[in-house]
Every structure is written in structure tokens, then in C-alpha cells.
Amino acid sequence: MLELRNLWKSYDAHGRQKHVLRGLNATFMRGDAVGILGRNGAGKSTLIRMMAGIEPPTGGEVIRSMSVSWPLGFGGAVHGSITGADNCRFIARIYGKPAGWVESFVEEFAELGEYFRLPVKTYSSGMSSRLAFGLSMAIDFDCYLVDEVIAVGDARFTERCRIMLEERRRRSALLMVSHQGELLRAFCTTAAILHEGRLTFHEDLDQAIATYQAL
């Protein structure tokens, strides 16, 4: 279970407090596939980073009682100056997985060919998101936090991501943030809208998308 309890985030902008998130409450369970819709600057990435535990909330708390992934998105998580293979071994070690197995899993999934043994900074953005996504699949989390990553890949990659996430739906939760309603249809069953610092849940995906587009 991943729980948000009265979560606040405020920034100091030119001496004035700007409240990005104003007291969010939510509970996510295994098997949930929730899309979070929000405009640019609504605080989607901030929210996902706080759920991942890499950014401290200003108030309230995030309670993680299942293993939660790092925020999957383009950029971040993988290091540019070492090779894809070295990144695999590093991440395998810090998550306590066998390094050799993770390396071969990702090599097969990401289809990087000889680039797998070259520094990540030589990759295209599609290639690095394949690497990052493959890595997160190899670690096998209970809950995946996705920050529009899939939009970067080509159609074939998007389809493989969808299949992989589908397979894991029974045992994992998926939380995906996006500013495009259509993207969520492929991956999510319910949706919430993040608007003016508050999160509103909708049971019905179509209704959520319609409400979001009317904003």
C-alpha cells in the first residue's frame, strides 16, 4: 500500500510562499492502475518524486508499505558517464538483485546492441528510456511510478511497455502522471485530476478525461 496523508508542498518564490500541493490524501493498492492528469506546472512531477521518496514534503507524509520504484521518466536514474551495463550492475547492487541476471535481462529487453557497452550519454532519448524502463522491470517493484516515459519511445517500445505492465498488474500498482488524457487510456483503469493543488479521483476514466479537458 502507498498512502498519502495530508501532503503539502510549498516553494519559496521571490519571497512569497507558493503552495503547489495543498493537503493530498490518497491510498493506492496493488492492482491499481491510476492515471494522474494535470496541466504543465500542476505539480505532477513533484508529486511523483515525493511518492518515490526523493523529495521531502513540506507537510504531511508518504507511507510506503510496498516497494516503490524510482520515478520512471526520461532523464534521471541512469548515469551518463558510465555504460548501460555498468548502470545495470550499480542499480542491481543497491536494490539487492543479482547483478549478472539484471544485466542480461536489461540487455535483452532494451535492445541496445553494442550501445549497451557504451556510455549512456551517447544514447538517444528513446534508448535511455528503454534502458531505464528495462531496469525498473528487472528490479520488480510492487508499485511503479511513471512520469510520461512511454511517450518518448517508438510505437514498438510503447507496446512492449504496455504488455509488460499489463502482466504485472495483478501484483503491482501503476501510477502514471501525464498531461495527455489519451496516453492514460492504454495503461490505466481509473484516473485522478491534479488541479490547483488538489487531487480529485474519478472511478470512470472517460469521465475523468472529459472533466480534465473541460478545465
Binding site: P56, R64, S65, G76, A77, D86, R93, I94
Partner: protein, 281 residues
């Protein structure tokens, strides 16, 4: 990196299982060590890289400096007070000084260079600093060992006590580690600003560090002032390890230990305060 207790969030198993406090602590410690090991491995990869010379400078710089200064002394016909071997004197002075400079100069950009790995919540800023500084310390120890072996083979001047030399180097690393945490904390005022202040400072403080002279060369009233600087004591220990009791040495072990403890405690406090305002993810 949120407000939860260390170890609570870091355990890789799903929490919620009732465990005695002792085994939770052990689990947290194990995760800490695993993360530290992994970050060190990663640092080795980035530093050795494929085509940068990285650690080779550890050997070249002190050798070139030691060689040149030894040459100047040889040509001018002056020796060092006490008749100490010039080449080994500068090698055991400059190489540990290199550690001092490298830990402090690279501290400001340390987190920026590692930004991607803070996407993993079990990796803390402190882990990265500890891993880097440990690695630097080990590299400098190996470099000193190799160079002293070379000097021994060429000039038949052998170190008297290697453990004592290693102890001296370790105290420098520990002292600078504490300082480096303060440098990291100061980056909330801007990485570039801090970098611009730290670099000149490490050069300007060369005469104060005690790397290139001995305390007994100076009059007693000056010695008192010199010995206020902790690193002066540390370099004396390293030289004692190299040359043995042929000249007088001035150091105070409790003073060294206390100053290491002070920089580390202050450094960790500063980092704790600054942590929420440092954003590299």
C-alpha cells in the same frame, strides 16, 4: 531522503514485518554498506573511465614536483635541515596534500556529478561523499606506497613505519571529509559560487597546511601558532613514519582526533540542515 528514520525506509524488504530493533538496525547497516560498496564501484568506473588519466596524476604530480625541487636543492648544494632525503620528503608531503586538495576541491560539484543516483531513495548525499573520499584516501595510500617503494629501490631510503604513515594519511582524509560535508552544505548558495571560493582557498592555504616544512625548523613562539592548524600535526606524523626518530616531531594525537571529530560533527549537522534545500534529482 525524506524525514523518516534512516534504515526505516532503506530496508529492501517490505516493511511492516515485526522485527526486533536490533535486527532492523543490522538490516539498515547492511543496506548502508551495500549502497556504499556500489557507489564506490561506480565512482571507480567514472574516474578510471575509458580515456581519462584520472589517478595517473596521483603518481606524476608528486614525482615531478619532488624531482624538480630535489634537483634545485642538488644544484644549489643545499640539503634539508637534519639531512633528510629530499625526494622522499616532498613525496610524503605533496601526495597527502594532493588528497587534501582533491577532497575539498571536488566537494562542491560532487552531488551535481552524481545527480542521477539520487533517484534511488536509499542513496543519500552522505553515502556519496563517504564513498568518494574513501576511494581518494585508498588511492593516495597506494600511490604513496608505490612511490616510496620506488624511492627505496633507487636511493635505498626506506620508510621506517608504514602503519604510522597510513595513520597520518587517514587522519587527513577524515579531517577533510568533515570539511567537505560543510562545502556540500554551502552549495545551497550556489555550486559555482562555492567552487570559486574553495579553489583559491585550497591554494592560498598551502603554506598553512604543513605539507612542505617541519615544525622544528621554526622558532618556538611561531611553533605554537603553527600547531593550531590540525593538518600540521598530521603531516608531522607522516614524516615520522617515513624518517623515524632522526629529527624532532611535533604533534598531539588527542588534538588530531578532536579536530577530526569537530569537522565531522559540524559537517554532518550542516548537511542535515542544508539537505532539504539541495535539489539534484
Amino acid at each position: 531522503m525524506d524525514g523518516s528514520l534512516p534504515g526505516q525506509d532503506r530496508a529492501l524488504r517490505p516493511p511492516g514485518l515485526a522485527q526486533p530493533v536490533g535486527s532492523r538496525l543490522m538490516a539498515a547497516l547492511r543496506v548502508q554498506l551495500v549502497v556504499l560498496g556500489a557507489v564506490m564501484m561506480r565512482e571507480i568506473h567514472t574516474r578510471f573511465g575509458r580515456h581519462n588519466m584520472g589517478y595517473m596524476w596521483l603518481f606524476f604530480e608528486p614525482m615531478i614536483l619532488g624531482g624538480c625541487i630535489a634537483m634545485v636543492h642538488y644544484i644549489s648544494g643545499h640539503g634539508l635541515p637534519g639531512g633528510l632525503d629530499i625526494l622522499s620528503f616532498y613525496v610524503v608531503g605533496y601526495t597527502p596534500y594532493y588528497l587534501f586538495r582533491s577532497i575539498l576541491n571536488r566537494a562542491a560539484t560532487a552531488l551535481l556529478a552524481n545527480a542521477p543516483i539520487f533517484y534511488h531513495r536509499q542513496v543519500t548525499f552522505l553515502d556519496v561523499m563517504v564513498a568518494r573520499n574513501l576511494l581518494d584516501c585508498a588511492a593516495v595510500m597506494i600511490a604513496v606506497l608505490v612511490m616510496l617503494a620506488l624511492i627505496g629501490a633507487i636511493r635505498d631510503v626506506w620508510p621506517v613505519d608504514l602503519v604510522w604513515i597510513a595513520f597520518g594519511i587517514a587522519t587527513i582524509a577524515l579531517f577533510c571529509h568533515g570539511l567537505s560535508l560543510m562545502v556540500v552544505a554551502a552549495t545551497i548558495f550556489g555550486v559555482e559560487t562555492v567552487d570559486r571560493v574553495v579553489h583559491p582557498l585550497t591554494y592560498l592555504t598551502i603554506p598553512l597546511t604543513g605539507a612542505f616544512y617541519m615544525v622544528w625548523w621554526f622558532p618556538a613562539e611561531l611553533q605554537e601558532w603553527m600547531l593550531l592548524v590540525p593538518s600540521v600535526h598530521m603531516f608531522e606524523i607522516i614524516r615520522e613514519g617515513q624518517f623515524g626518530p632522526v629529527v624532532p616531531y611535533h604533534y598531539d594525537i588527542p588534538y588530531i582526533l578532536v579536530s577530526c571529530a569537530v569537522t565531522n560533527v559540524l559537517g554532518m549537522l550542516a548537511l542535515r540542515v542544508a539537505k532539504r534545500r539541495i535539489e539534484f534529482t
